[in-house]
Symmetry: C2
Subunit: 90 residues, 2 copies
DNA sequence: AAAGTATTTAGAAATATTTCTAAATAGATA
DNA sequence: TATCTATTTAGAAATATTTCTAAATACTTT
């Protein structure tokens, strides 16, 4: 995991909204796309960025690809931020 | 404050390193720049991004401009991330 | 006031990001 | 098997980001 990749993934409003949608559970690519006024190809691009940043995991079922939040990376980012404001250890 | 701006600011490695430097206290622009193999103009550009994201504050003394971390925005970002992984309230 | 030091601003070049359309892939159903 | 549905990939256009050099600003010291 690289923080650069993770923060870059988090820097786009569409991707943050996708993550927010996934708070309530796994969702297929198409279902995610239906919340946005964009082509499926664009949504797929954003999902690939989130996947590379390991912020989501995918699983296949029938015709669909389901995405779900990976909270462990979210926690790593929080730990980095916590260290930042944490004071002057090490 | 906009999360987009904040995450974008955090997505660059130079800017994350500047913030890490500022963990140990305020520092002048030149002192910050001396830690990088880049022109002062480039460092100034990065500082302006951090400033716009409200991640740092500046104060002037004599010839120098000092920068320091603004931890309150760091906390707002952490709160957003916490909400993300937090489960399904609201 | 003149010269020096610290920092920013302007403008340009190289690179990266975001979006689209069109085509490709993969799996499901008729 | 042929076709339909869901999703991704490729390629291109528009926009944004990062870096540099050169010049401008601002404050200090001589």
């Amino acid at each position: 995991m690289s923080f650069g990749q993770t923060f870059k993934a988090l820097s786009d409003p569409v991707r943050r909204e996708i993550l927010t949608l996934l708070r309530s559970g796994r969702m297929s690519a198409g279902e995610i796309g239906s919340h946005f006024d964009m082509t499926g190809a664009t949504i797929s691009y954003h999902l690939s960025i989130l996947k590379k940043a390991d912020l989501v995991h995918e699983s296949k079922y029938k015709n669909y690809i389901y995405y779900e939040l990976n909270t462990s990376v979210v926690e790593e980012v929080m730990a980095w931020l916590s260290h930042l404001k944490g004071g002057n250890e090490s």
